[in-house]
Symmetry: C2
């Protein structure tokens, strides 16, 4: 666990340095836009998706300098989605990453543009990463765009989530929403690490299986924390799901059965890792951390 804590702290520092290097400074015009982007990116993010990408890449022996741009890009996509999800016409949230949401601080128009520009910059960052072959970059961009868009990616999940608000949902529907809204990009992070690490097809499949369950585990624990934790601990508004009658695991199964489900998923993803003939301690550690997270 000490090793993992160090890894996560190192990853976060690396990714934040890369983001700082890649995103235009606040002194560059349009300054308001760049200030808004930086405000949202440099809150107290856990940098979970880039850490997963770095962990998978390292598992397959890829050097850090080949992973870091893509890791930063995936954090940009994630941050753009947070900015847009928090908007008044969406989840209407005031608090994110321990500070005011982008639109509360910079106004709605600039928040929309900040999200738009972050998405663009993510794809440009991967396209411009000369440490990767052209083919790798294309595979990663395709993977990440599929995971971010529609019909099976993050934006589709957000739309389904909005459509489902205020009415009770079947568990099948909840799973579809979560797998698109959260799972797809988490899987893409792992897949990008496997592409850069040149995993063989069997290993690639094992990573995909692991990552897709990790995404579900992440979402179930997220849903549980929304019920059990305070806004202060989470750095975002707690209890919002129930208030908005969102489609969540605890709403459907109750807390106890949701926790059982999380344990089952954990067991299953750990056995997926047996398909990888490399030391998988880091990937197990990340799953442990998600299973036991408090925020």
């Amino acid at each position: 666990m000490q090793e993992l804590t160090t890894f996560l702290a190192d990853s976060a520092r690396l990714v934040e340095a890369e983001l700082d290097h890649t995103i235009p400074q606040e002194t560059v015009e349009p300054t308001r836009l760049h200030a808004a982007i930086r405000w949202s990116v440099f809150g107290s993010g856990k940098r979970f998706r880039p850490a997963l990408l770095l962990a998978v890449g390292r598992t397959f022996g890829a050097p850090e300098e080949k992973l870091i741009s893509t890791a930063a890009a995936i954090e940009m996509i994630h941050t753009y989605s947070l900015i847009h999800d928090d908007l008044p016409s969406m989840d209407d949230d005031d608090l994110r990453r321990g500070r005011e949401t982008c639109h509360k601080k910079f106004g709605e128009a600039t928040a929309i543009l900040a999200g738009d520009a972050l998405q663009t910059l993510a794809f440009k960052t991967i396209a411009d990463d000369k440490s990767l072959t052209h083919e790798m970059r294309i595979r990663i961009i395709s993977e990440m765009a599929g995971a971010s868009g529609t019909p099976v990616g993050m934006v589709a999940g957000q739309q389904l989530d909005l459509d489902a608000e205020g009415r009770s949902s079947e568990i099948n529907e909840i799973e579809i929403i979560h797998s698109r809204k959260t799972g797809a990009l988490i899987s893409a992070a792992a897949t990008a690490g496997a592409i850069i690490g040149e995993a063989n097809p069997a290993e690639h499949n094992a990573v995909t299986a692991y990552a897709s369950k990790l995404g579900m585990l992440f979402q179930i624990t997220d849903d549980i924390l929304d019920v059990t934790e305070t806004s202060e601990t989470l750095g975002k508004t707690a209890g919002k799901d129930a208030a908005a009658r969102k489609a969540t695991y605890p709403a459907h199964y109750g807390l106890a059965r949701s926790r059982d489900l999380a344990n089952e998923l954990y067991g299953s993803l750990i056995s997926d890792l047996e398909g990888i003939d490399r030391p998988t301690g880091l990937l197990i550690g990340i799953a442990d951390r998600i299973a036991n997270r408090q925020a």
Copy 2:
């Protein structure tokens, strides 16, 4: 002119067929999102950017099947920007492409997501175009992302435009806003055509010079039409620029001097085309059409 009219009609038909093929059908979940995307894409768009891409590509001898996905992708980026620019917190517009704006018809949340998903799909479409080499796809994605984002692309231009609203602007500022907000993507369309057509460096430079002036010409005539034409003719709300005290050429120079400027630009971009040792009738025709457009 007859040849050009045929070319533009053929281009629009081709691009619309490709868009129809690439964008998920309205029957696919989330149906509301796909309906919103299709509503905005399939209004009465002029398909100017894809036509320019096809014209430049054809000038350099590229076959249509290598150009069409990228042409559709650039129209997706343009449409995403229209959807977001029309939002209540931005230009707050009710009419676009001869019909209700996306947010009027589908609500703000879905409109934001429709724009987000169109941007993603544009990059995915290029990444997945197997008729192009990996290197070509990477160059086009990088070019198009640079032209769409910040600090020198479309989103930066939109932010500068918002920042400048309600106060008078220097002509230098107006040019910077326009070159980012409109010019960059028009140039990217031409550049993508030159990349796919494997133009040599000198030809590439000539196309870039032509396209960047064409972008300015497009914006000046757009500004003029906003003053002189009706909403019905334009398919979008007329007179909005003056109402919002936008930074425009007529506001700064008046109508007569703006028309002179357009003529000067036209002359200059026609001489840029002399750097291309191929028949450039199509590119001249497009410039004529922009210079003389009524909507």
